[in-house]
């Protein structure tokens, strides 16, 4: 039986539908991410689960009980807000103990439990500091401890890492995930950062304009996106416009129109999959790291337009028969291609994803 269920949840603001018919079941202990660009309805969904925003229609069930109309202070969920929302006039310990105080836990016990929670997030020695005297990362941990100390059935995280610098963010991802697995708390993370969602979640819900575009485990989502939006939003990809041509059984053939001045001929590709209706507009998607680039074939001849060294890899922009492409190649220690070089590009058959929609 599912632990948290959203049943055709809707939220409308006047004429604007922020969340449309959201159906989602979450198992106990699962880590779910709501991923999408700003304005896709992910935060609205989180606020409805938290009880801070009443849904227009639909139901929210927690452990079999309908909590749709339960006020936020009776739901007992733990929430970490984007701004952390610490109480500036209270020390770290007082912040963490606040939820316990509201539950009528005796002073000695709640101070003890607050201390344990702060130790859990490695902030034991900062217990008596005010939020103003702490760094962003430390505040973030206080917010996390404050949400966890009440032992909530569900932990809601609203872009909790977006205010941290890049290095700290990566550390916190791992730490947060380990802590979550340790405690086993059901967690919903709202984020616009696809890396964050990919690295932390059991399942990812990709949202677009209030709809769910896809629900899948991180690897599935990355390798088998259902549409061009997901393939473009999750990870980097090259989207190539093409036309379908007549194909035989078990094979689709598409024609990519030539783009660049020097490469004017059309390119015909044969792809595995069902035959397409001839003349239909389709979109191909190839991830930059799936390409194989070599000095002498085999493959399509391309010209390197730009070359950027990223440390672990090289990022190239090349002019190819399919137009401009981004190509990522691992750094093997050898010198990379320079601007103006000619190279040959190939890819395994299953690296190309075909979407029967125009990009």
């Amino acid at each position: 039986m599912s632990f948290l269920t959203l049943e055709s949840l809707n939220k409308e603001f006047g004429d604007f539908t922020a969340v449309r018919d959201m159906n989602l079941t979450i198992e106990q202990g699962e880590f779910i991410s709501l991923l999408g660009p700003s304005g896709c309805g992910k935060t609205t969904t989180l606020q409805m689960i938290a009880g801070l925003l009443p849904p227009t229609r639909g139901k929210i069930l927690l452990d079999g009980k309908d909590i749709t109309k339960t006020p936020p202070n009776k739901r007992g969920l733990g929430i970490v807000f984007q701004s952390y929302a610490l109480f500036p006039h209270m020390t770290a310990t007082e912040n963490v103990a606040f939820g316990l105080e509201m539950r009528g836990v005796a002073k000695v016990e709640r101070m003890d439990r607050a201390r344990v929670a702060l130790d859990q997030v490695k902030l034991g020695q900062f217990a008596h500091r005010y939020p103003k005297e702490m760094s962003g990362g430390q505040r973030q941990r206080v917010a996390l401890a404050r949400a966890l100390v009440i032992e909530p059935p569900v932990l809601l995280l609203d872009e909790p890492l977006s205010n941290l610098d890049a290095k700290l963010r990566e550390e916190m991802r791992i730490e947060l995930r380990l802590l979550q697995q340790d405690i086993g708390v059901t967690t919903i993370l709202v984020t616009h950062d696809q890396e964050e969602a990919l690295s932390m979640s059991d399942r990812i819900v990709v949202m677009k304009d209030g709809d769910m575009a896809q629900i899948a485990a991180p690897l599935d989502l990355y390798e088998r996106p259902l549409n061009t939006f997901v393939s473009d939003f999750v990870g980097k990809t090259n989207l190539i416009k093409a036309r379908a041509a007549a194909g035989s059984q078990g094979q689709s053939v598409v024609i990519v129109d030539g783009h660049a001045d020097t490469l004017t001929q059309n390119l015909t590709l044969a792809l595995p999959g069902e035959a397409l209706i001839e003349g239909e507009s389709v979109t191909l998607s190839i991830r930059p790291e799936k390409f194989l680039m070599s000095k002498e074939g085999p493959g399509h001849k391309v010209e390197v337009q730009a070359s950027i060294f990223m440390g672990a890899s090289w990022l190239y922009r090349v002019n190819s028969p399919m137009g401009e492409l981004f190509v990522t190649q691992p750094n093997t220690g050898a010198a990379g291609y320079a601007k103006g070089d000619t190279a040959y590009l190939s890819w395994p058959d299953d690296a190309v994803m075909l979407f029967s929609e125009a990009a």
């Binding site: 202070n73 701004s83 929302a85 109480f87 606040f98 005010y130």
Partner: protein, 287 residues
């Protein structure tokens, strides 16, 4: 070379303002202070001697004690009432949806847009023996006795609260704007009731606004002149009207100057020590 030139720039740029203040504020204040150190004779006027007799007179005379007591009592009372009215007012205002917020903000700030004399004369019409207050009282069946708040402490308090509440509202409003609204949501989700959120989370965060608003209201009441002069009249003298009377009725300028200087010093002492207290309490919490 350029470093030296840079050093001078701030001084040069602030010089016009500094000169302006020295000429128009510093010099008159100094002159008032020097004036307070002369003695006065009813037949020959201001004497060229140096004495602190004026201060001794003011500080030793029960008549002046009463006036100073009344002034600071009034300032305290007006401040407390302004807190009680202004804080909820600012809170409600901050939570109103927009067309109404602007309308009511204008209503709140209204008293500041009217000349102090006109506004106070308005109150006089309202409070006076045959004024609106009497009409209402008789209309409600409280008898035909004229109800007058003119020349009373209550009348002064009401009129001063009316004009000073906006300062409290603005000050608290500014504090409310700085609050992270998510901190109220956070408290709510941690199990706090709406009332608990109000006095455990919201109120402590607007405390700096309340305190700085109190300083403004207190200082303005303690040195208020027009309202006490018109509503309080000569029967309910405060320090500012007492100093005015010494200057213009008794023509004892040195004594009036001494009263003014003492008012200034007491005001500064109260405000500075209050501010210190506030700063010490909130230094760690707010910037």
């Amino acid at each position: 070379m350029s470093a030296k030139a840079l050093d001078k720039t701030p001084f040069l740029m602030t010089a016009p303002g500094v000169i302006f203040f020295i000429m128009l504020l510093g010099v008159p204040m100094l002159m008032t202070f020097l004036l307070s150190l002369h003695s006065y004779d009813f037949t020959t006027g201001i004497q060229p001697d140096w004495t602190i007799s004026n201060y001794i007179e003011v500080l030793g005379d029960p008549y002046f004690h009463k006036i100073f007591g009344r002034t600071f009592g009034l300032a305290l009372l007006v401040t407390v009432i302004c807190v009680l009215i202004g804080v909820p007012e600012a809170y409600v205002l901050a939570h109103l949806p927009n067309p109404w917020r602007s309308v009511f903000l204008l209503v709140v700030l209204g008293p500041l847009l009217i000349s102090v004399v006109v506004r106070t004369l308005g109150w006089a019409l309202f409070f006076g023996g045959k004024g609106v207050l009497t009409m209402i009282a008789s209309g409600l069946g409280f008898g035909e006795e004229p109800v007058s708040l003119m020349f009373t402490f209550t009348g002064m308090t009401i009129a001063l609260v009316h004009v000073l509440v906006p300062f409290m509202v603005i000050s608290v409003w500014a504090s409310l704007q700085k609050i992270d609204p998510q901190s109220e949501d956070a408290a709510l989700t941690l199990g706090a009731s709406k009332l608990t959120v109000l006095y455990r989370i919201t109120l402590p965060q607007v405390m700096p606004g309340i305190l700085s608003g109190s300083i403004i209201v207190f200082a303005l009441t303690a040195s208020a002149f027009a309202t006490p002069a018109i509503i309080g009249g000569r029967r309910m003298k405060v320090v500012a009207t007492a100093a005015y009377d010494e200057y213009l009725s008794t023509l004892n300028w040195p004594l009036g100057a001494a009263i003014a200087v003492i008012l200034l010093v007491v005001n500064i002492v109260i405000i500075v020590s209050y501010n210190k207290l506030v700063e010490r309490r909130f230094a760690k919490v707010f910037e």
